[in-house]
């Protein structure tokens, strides 16, 4: 079977949707030259009206996309850096997200915001290493963080076709992932539906994006000790597949979340809150996250120290297995 990389999956999804739907267009910085590679070849294929290089005017071009959406188009914006989403937080959370309700349902704003390379970028330091999916989930903007090339393809297609704004985070740590993929099976993946990536009986590990790989590695490692780990990837942070999560937790009765957000009120906090409200567990659940207020230091070992990783995950799994 041919290999498909995560990055190439994004590129393919964009190309397919541009091809299929003439109202789709892509805009962003350096997307013509495809500096991030996500839009490679698209300018040549679709021309300047469908692949629009923007000046460094993030706020205006984000609202520009909202306006274009109000006029009937489906813009996809590529953002070069995760923190650019901070710069346009008003434009997404307070404009695009609110138009439907505020106008009494007169309009829709189908814009997709893609961040290829979210999270630590190995040496890009404090202002370029955020992974802010929790922020958008909290305000109620649909938020996806795919882990695999096939999910990246399928969720990007769904995000573009969705009638609401969707923020799509492609973690730096996942961009290089390559999988064997039968291209004919590539298909839309619905928002809000999680996936059991690996079945297990003793504990459920919830992981998103690049951390799914860490979770699988931890599961492999622990399998050697006779511990059976189930890995659940919600794929969409909001809306969240609570039922899928509940089913897994009901089976394993133990829960650990690994989350590349800050601890306080992060994605993991929501999972633990749901667990507290609804799940019947045999041990207190645990979370492995960035520390509160985390700013990623430049020096590589420090950057790594601030990110949740496999070792902490393994420790947390042992802890929930020992406790009752």
């Amino acid at each position: 079977m041919p290999k498909l990389s995560y990055l190439k999956a994004l590129n393919r999804a964009l190309g397919d949707e541009l091809e299929r739907d003439p109202t789709v267009f892509v805009l962003g910085e350096d997307i013509r030259a495809a500096a991030s590679n996500v839009t490679a070849g698209l300018f040549a294929r679709f021309g300047p009206d469908r692949v629009l290089d923007t000046p460094l005017s993030e706020q205006a071009f984000t609202n520009f996309a909202t306006g274009a959406a109000l006029a009937g188009m489906r813009p996809v914006i590529e953002f070069q850096i995760p923190s650019l989403l901070f710069l346009v937080f008003e434009q997404i959370a307070n404009q695009a997200h609110k138009f439907s309700l505020m106008t009494g349902g007169q309009c829709k704003v189908p814009v997709t915001y893609v961040v290829p390379g979210s999270g630590s970028r190995t040496g890009w330091a404090g202002q370029h290493s955020d992974h802010p999916y929790t922020l958008f989930a909290h305000v109620g903007v649909k938020t996806v963080v795919p882990a695999t090339p096939a999910d990246a393809y399928g969720l990007l297609i769904s995000a573009i076709r969705d009638d609401d704004p969707v923020v799509f985070f492609a973690p730096s740590g996942a961009l290089g992932v390559r999988d064997d993929v039968d291209f004919s099976t590539l298909a839309p993946v619905p928002l809000g539906v999680g996936r059991v990536v690996r079945g297990g009986d003793d504990v459920t590990v919830v992981a998103l994006g690049h951390l799914v790989q860490d979770a699988l590695a931890a599961a492999d490692e622990l399998a050697g000790l006779g511990i059976s780990v189930e890995v659940f990837d919600p794929r969409t942070v909001y809306p969240l597949d609570v039922e899928g999560l509940a089913a897994s937790a009901a089976k394993t009765r133990r829960l650990v979340v690994i989350d590349d957000s800050n601890r306080t009120s992060g994605f993991a906090a929501e999972i633990l809150a749901i667990a507290a409200e609804r799940f019947d567990l045999d041990a207190p659940p645990r979370r492995v996250t960035r520390p509160d207020g985390a700013v990623l230091p430049f020096a590589l070992a420090l950057d790594r120290a601030v990110q949740p990783g496999r070792d902490q995950l393994v420790t947390a799994i042992h802890a929930v297995l020992e406790e009752q």
């Binding site: 000046p55 609202n63 309700l101 106008t103 009494g104 349902g105 809306p239």
Partner: protein
């Protein structure tokens, strides 16, 4: 005649709305457009059916000039189900997509880029749409609006930037807030800019006609600075607060150039009386309709939150 009817309609609508704020029928207050009516009237007159506008926190005039039903606007201000936005938006979000009114916007400076995107998209979709986007002198200091000027100029977007310079952003005088010159800011982006007497609907209409022509024929954006004066409070909360940032002399000087009188003087007295009576009857009826309309059901508070409603849990 039409221009007079529009300014008169806006004026009387606003005066009545202020009364409804006082009586408690309108909750949360409004930003009255009184004194600035000529701009909405003059800008909207040359627009056609396929054109679009965006508006501001001080938006009733724009919405009415663009042809929205006063009864539905009033019902919106009263939070009724028959309102333009089904009572979900209120004064600062009044929208009527059927008329190309993409909404008032409560964030100063936000709508310019939305209008630019909408105009560009309509053009891309093969329509000959022109967009007009209103904003105040205060908005000239918002970076996101200045960014929009750049996009519009670069991509020759058919958008008309209408700056309603009423001399103040809330209490902040324009001279303390805007360094340099308003029109120079637009010109610096390569956008032709003119300053127009914003108290005279015909002057505004004239300038807008040129701008519409430029936009329609693919020559891109135009910037209109319309000098005007806000006769009433920034917002009706000011009727209770005692903010002293304008002298009484300044206020009466400002009020002396009343767009309703300026345009009214161009009509024969009897014609004017006919229009006035018509407007009054229309607004009487609007009030009856609005006051008689149902309040939305609180159980439906989250209706319309998503275009794809399955998200809610």
């Amino acid at each position: 005649m039409n221009l007079y009817r529009t300014v008169r309609l806006i004026r009387r609508f606003e005066e009545r709305a202020v009364e409804f704020v006082r009586s408690g029928e309108i909750v949360g207050g409004i930003h009255p457009y009184i004194g600035q009516e000529a701009i909405a009237a003059g800008v909207c007159a040359p627009l056609t059916d396929t054109d679009v506008i965006t508006s501001t926190h001080r938006g009733h005039g724009h919405v009415l000039a663009r042809g929205a039903d006063p009864a539905r606007l009033l019902a919106e201000l009263m939070g009724r189900e028959t309102g333009l936005n089904k009572g979900r938006g209120g004064s600062m979000h009044a929208a009527d997509f059927g008329l190309g009114i993409l909404g008032a916007n409560a964030i100063v400076g936000a709508a310019g880029s939305i209008a630019t995107g909408a105009a560009w998209a309509h053009r891309r979709l093969g329509r000959d749409t022109v967009a007009a986007t209103f904003f105040g002198d205060g908005a000239m200091n918002e970076g996101m609006l200045l960014e929009a000027f750049n996009l519009a100029a670069l991509w020759q977007v058919p958008v008309i930037f209408v700056c309603e310079n009423n001399g103040y952003a809330t209490t902040m005088p324009v001279a303390s807030a805007v360094a340099g010159s308003i029109t120079a800011r637009a010109e610096a982006f390569g956008i032709p800019a003119v300053t127009v007497d914003g108290q005279d609907p015909e002057k505004v209409l004239e300038a807008t006609t040129v701008a519409v022509e430029r936009a329609r024929s693919g020559q891109g954006p135009t910037f209109l600075e319309c000098t005007t004066y806000r006769f009433d409070a920034h917002h009706t909360f000011e009727h209770r607060a005692r903010l002293t940032y304008r002298s009484t002399e300044e206020i009466s000087a400002g009020r002396s150039r009343d767009p309703v009188e300026i345009q009214g003087a161009r009509l024969a007295a009897e014609d004017r009386a006919v229009v006035d009576a018509e407007v009054e009857a229309l607004l009487d009826a609007a009030a009856v309709i609005a006051l008689g309309s149902a309040h939305p059901d609180p159980a439906a508070a989250l209706e319309f939150l998503y275009a794809s409603p399955e998200v809610l849990r």
